[in-house]
Structures are given as structure tokens and as C-alpha cells.
Symmetry: C2
Subunit: 116 residues, 2 copies
Amino acid sequence: MSAVNLAEKLALFSEHWSPKIVGAFNGHDIMVVKVEGEFVWHSHPDTDDLFLVLDGEIDIEMRDETVHLKAGEFYVVPAGVEHKPVAKAEAHVMIIEPSGTPNTGDAETAVHKDQI
Amino acid sequence: MSAVNLAEKLALFSEHWSPKIVGAFNGHDIMVVKVEGEFVWHSHPDTDDLFLVLDGEIDIEMRDETVHLKAGEFYVVPAGVEHKPVAKAEAHVMIIEPSGTPNTGDAETAVHKDQI
């Protein structure tokens, strides 16, 4: 493995809500994703979910509160907590989750995560 | 927990090589650290070590190669690999390691990590 430049990785794709794996760490995938619009409500029963905004702004809606994140800010959604990421305009986010975690919380609807 | 602004956390302290805990994720500490100069050679036998540079530049010297990182770049030092972080000028870094990991690889010489 060599140094990973997050902006260079983000320049390699354009689709939204399709996390790309850019590194591995203690059984977790380090991913970058472009988001815009509303994702689905979901939760991950067995893992926390780390969102670090690299560019733009997102809201992480939860049933009882909404956390607003801008570039340089992170939030950890605790395991089991239902959440829905929303971005009014395109935003770039780094996500860390255990390898194999379905992005929708459901293996049947999850996207395949390519390594780039 | 609420959103964590990394720059705001970094503005709260000035000392070098003293990681501050700013979040928790799956049994790991999310930390920010200011570095300048040379750290000690060390390794972590049981965990990978994630370095994401937020501001400035660092070298991660290993016995057989050196990885140069600038802002927006990360590197994962694999478990057990000896490394020595070096920064010619002050740099700001986000680090993720399992809670309780000694920063020097040795509990006797490790700094105490405060939560901020």
C-alpha cells in the first residue's frame, strides 16, 4: 500500500451513493463516496458508522435529531441507530465500516463496493 | 455525541506528539495530533495505524521505505511494522487506533491521551 490521496480517488468516479474502497484498516474498509439527494433510512445493527465530510455539507437525519456536517467535520452513528444521509448539493465523504457492511443495512439492496 | 469539527479541536491545544481523543468508533479512538520534528521508532503488534493528514506534510519512515503524506492523504501502517513519523514543520493529523493503544508502542513510555 502507498499513500492514498482522497481527492484523486474521488476524481475517478461520478456516481452518487456508491462507496469506493480506498484502503483497509483493522478489518474495516476505508471508503470515499459522492452523495447528493436523499439516501434510504437504514441502520447497521453490529457496527458504528463513521462519516467524515471532505467537501460540501450533509445532514445525517436520525429519528430524534439531525446532525449537520460540513467539510472537516465527522460524526459517528452508533450501531443500531436508524439514519438517513441527505445532501442538498453534491458532497464528498469518507466512510469507515467493517469490510462487507451493506451500505443500505440490507445485503439484498446494498450496492457492490469496488476498490479503486 | 454531536458533530466534531477537527480544526476546532486542534485549536484547543498546542503541544506536539500528544494525541487528543475526539471521538469513539467500534472500540477505536479517533484522535487529532499536532506533530513537528521526529517521533520515536515503534510498532503496534496487534493493530494497524491509520494516519490522515489534515494540514501540512509528514513522512512516515519505515525500515524499508518512507511514505510522504500531505493534507488530504492517508496511510495505514500495518500491524507490527516499525515506523517513525517525522514532520519538518508542524502538521496536523487524524489518527485512529484501538482505545488504549500506546502511542509509542510501549505502555511505559506512552503519553496519556486526554479527551477534548
